[in-house]
């Protein structure tokens, strides 16, 4: 079974169809997805701003991360669930949509970025976390994060224009 066949199957499934054709289902799920941007991207942006030494400068980086990231994970949950439901209902349509594929690729990169950050430069955070100025690699991770998430939001919005 090819990926396209899978998308066709999902699209035609009773669950996918129910969401797509219901008057309120798709709009409500989409609303949750758009407002969830606040929780996921908003909190990530604030962490990135701390890594760039622009906000909460007197707070140790590890403190900020520890306390903000639970919210970010909550936001990720909202986005993943709502996004999956949206995809499910429109799978066959999104399969051929270049913006959707770009968005998925960007999401993967946006997930890789913190993984690399946490397993490399963040390991030594006790040495640099208290100061306003952070290592170059931490700043790079922050800039990448802000850029990737902005691109994800933009391509996400653009999906509807390429239907």
């Amino acid at each position: 079974m090819t990926l396209f066949h899978l998308c066709q199957w999902l699209y035609a499934s009773s669950f996918g169809t129910a969401i797509r054709e219901s008057q309120y289902g798709f709009p409500l799920i989409e609303t949750a997805h758009v407002l969830g941007i606040t929780v996921l991207v908003g909190t990530v942006a604030i962490v990135d701003l701390r890594l760039l030494g622009l906000v909460m400068k007197r707070e140790p980086v590890s403190d900020v991360l520890e306390q903000v990231l639970p919210l970010t994970w909550g936001g990720f949950l909202i986005m993943f669930v709502s996004g999956s439901l949206l995809l499910l209902s429109k799978a066959e349509l999104y399969y051929g949509n270049p913006l959707f594929r770009i968005k998925l690729g960007l999401l993967l990169l946006a997930g890789l970025n913190p993984l690399i950050f946490h397993s490399t430069v963040y390991r030594s955070v006790s040495a640099w976390g208290e100061s306003q100025v952070t290592p170059k690699r931490a700043k790079l991770a922050a800039v990448l994060s802000l850029t990737l998430w902005s691109a994800i939001v933009v391509t996400g919005r653009a999906i509807a224009y390429f239907h």
Partner: protein, 158 residues
Amino acid sequence: MTFYSLFEWLGNTWIGLAIQRSTWGVAIAEMVHLLALATLGGTILLVDLRLFGIGMKRQTAAQLARDLSPVFWGSLAVMLVSGLLILAGEPMKCYYSPAFRIKMLLLIIAVLFQITFHRIAVASSTGKAASIWSKSAAALSLALWLSVGLAGRAIGYF
């Protein structure tokens, strides 16, 4: 001068006309609006959850709000500008949309609440514990801003 003539005027400015004639004008303004919404919402969430006693516990809500204040006001400014540009691109759609009118009303209330009762609640929350006042202010703030967002989303529908 009526709102109608104001919206009409806005649509007839050179920038309004330029946006209306372009294919991507409104879309780009909307994307900027969304990005600023993310950072605006992030600051609101962090401060209001702190007023509830959740999250950034090592700082008081007052310190947190002060730290994030530039991000809040900067994001709001970007949202106002991008919002105006969207409005200039679709003035009559917005004028006749009940959701748009409700959103503007809620926005004014949310901002007024932010700079009055919410500010007082935040400034007085210098302890670690959340009082009934700080929790009420946080709840109302979150409800108001969420309503603004929902109304904005509804503009596409009615």
